[in-house]
């Protein structure tokens, strides 16, 4: 897994590439936590290059969503591939965290 983060126009974007599973989730969790260190209230996950997501990975995204809710901010997950989208639907997470088809529409949801 590779994970990058940037901040632009008040939106923190975290891009996750590869596999988010039990092996990589501690590192992802750390990066997400650091990214939320400031007073960010707009968080966007670019998951266009996310190939695999396990329940440990879902927990990382869930923690971020909970944190954003606590600070009355907004979070959106963008550009999930079919496999990851299906995991979201079957696991019921789509009712907890908003999903957007593309990064552009994700930015609109946050704005």
């Amino acid at each position: 897994m590779e994970i990058t983060q940037k901040e632009e126009n008040g939106i923190v974007t975290i891009a996750i590439i590869g596999r988010l599973d039990a092996d990589s989730s501690p590192e992802a969790e750390k990066v997400v936590k650091e990214s939320l260190g400031g007073q960010t209230t707009r968080l966007l996950f670019n998951l266009s290059a996310l190939e695999y997501l396990s329940s440990a990975g879902l927990r990382v995204l869930l923690s971020a969503a909970k944190e954003m809710r606590r600070r009355e901010g907004k979070i959106v997950l963008c550009a999930l591939n079919e496999f990851v989208k299906e995991i979201f639907e079957v696991s019921g997470f789509q009712s907890l965290i908003p999903i957007a088809d593309s990064v552009e529409s994700g930015i609109e949801i946050l704005s």
Partner: protein
């Protein structure tokens, strides 16, 4: 570095030259450890084996077996292989140093040495060795504790499967480490009705085992109607929300009326149940709308309940995703499609046969790669 050496620690000094040995002895006399000496390789190996020192300072050029050979023999003996060895030699070429380190030595000091340097390096390696032993002992302790947790956990699972009139059951349960987060349970209800629960705590080991045990306690003390799958999940969720954060638990509860062969299912983040239809000879994932997993937040929506009628010879499978997300050597997952194929295995309606076929196929698929996650399956087949 602070000197924490104790008299219970010992250092073995090996040199064929009595003067060198004496200088070394004087150099290290004040560091607080017991000093042992050997004047050739054979004696060094014999003392090391008996006294198991905490560190060995080893000369290379000695008559008889040389320091390299001594090191090789110490490293090939399980009792002495963990003792750190520092080579001490007049040979100062990089090649000699590399050879020594490749044989498993932790350090190399060139003669003539500076006493302060020897003391500093000895103290460093004694500290490292001490910390290594502590970590190993803590690891043993932790593993022992997890074994205890695992043994308790096994007792929480049904001791044996009930015999249900008209519905034959089989189960498979294995944890990837000592303790796991998978849980299944079966409760008997009046009038040949039954409640099946399959649940999976996110994560493994001790934290998952705690959630699993908690879910078991909640399920067994559930005061409401076990015929109402939505209420069962509401109840579990309400209580798990107080403790699970930041983790969660996926679950599927199915209420089975063996008289009418109907299943009523509610699902919280858990994989869909699979059904093999005997008449169609086809296995499918039962479309079964659900809610997010237990332990995250209260459900403000109604939990959907799916009702399905089974026919004679139909197979009903609930499982945890450790099975479908089992990896092979190349990192591919086993997947639902392959599990569906296996569920349709020809087996003369014996659920144990079907489960054995599934697990054999999973093991074959995974090859050398061990399971990363716990795996549980519960299968029922409608009998005449």
């Amino acid at each position: 570095m602070e000197n924490k050496n104790t008299a219970t620690e010992s250092i073995l000094l090996v040199d064929d030259n009595p003067t060198n040995l004496q200088v070394l002895f004087q150099t290290l006399d004040g560091i607080g450890c017991k000093l042992l000496i050997a004047k050739n390789g054979e004696i060094a190996i014999s003392i090391a084996d008996k006294a198991l020192p905490d560190l060995i300072l080893l000369d290379i050029m000695m008559p008889g077996i040389d320091g390299y050979e001594v090191c090789r023999q110490l490293k090939s003996n399980a009792a002495t292989s963990g003792i750190p060895v520092i080579f001490l030699s007049a040979l100062g070429d990089t090649e000699d140093k590399v050879k020594g380190l490749q044989l498993g030595a932790v350090d190399y000091i060139t003669k003539p040495f500076q006493p302060d340097e020897v003391i500093a390096r000895v103290n460093t390696h004694l500290t490292i060795h001490r910390l290594k032993r502590e970590v190993e002992s803590q690891k043993d302790q932790l593993e022992h504790e997890l074994e205890v947790v695992s043994a308790v956990q096994r007792k929480l699972l049904p001791k044996q499967l009930p015999v249900i009139d008209g519905f034959k059951l089989a189960v498979h349960y294995e944890t990837s480490r000592y303790a796991g987060g998978d849980y299944y349970d079966i409760i008997e209800l009046p009038d040949n009705c039954w409640g099946f629960l399959m649940a999976d705590a996110e994560g493994h080991s001790a934290p998952a085992a705690v959630l699993m045990a908690m879910t078991c306690a909640l399920f067994r003390s559930y005061p409401g109607s076990a015929a109402d799958p939505a209420e069962v999940l509401h109840y579990l969720n309400e209580h798990l929300c107080k403790v699970a954060d930041p983790s969660f638990m996926t679950a599927l509860y199915a209420y089975y009326d063996a008289n009418t062969q109907t299943m009523r299912i509610a699902r919280a983040g858990h994989p869909l149940p699979m059904i093999f239809s005997h008449s169609d000879k086809k296995a499918i994932e039962l479309p079964c709308p659900g809610v997010y997993p237990l332990g995250i937040e209260p459900y403000e929506i109604e939990i959907p309940v799916t009702e399905t009628k089974l026919e004679q010879g139909d197979r009903f499978l609930i499982y945890t995703d450790g099975l479908t997300e089992r990896f092979d050597m190349g990192g591919k997952t086993y997947g639902e499609a392959r599990l569906l194929r296996l569920l349709a295995t020809d087996s003369a309606d014996d659920p144990r046969g079907v489960i054995s076929a599934i697990m054999a196929d999973v093991v074959q698929f995974a090859g050398e790669r061990p399971a990363d996650d716990d795996q549980a399956l519960l299968l029922g087949i409608v009998q005449p």
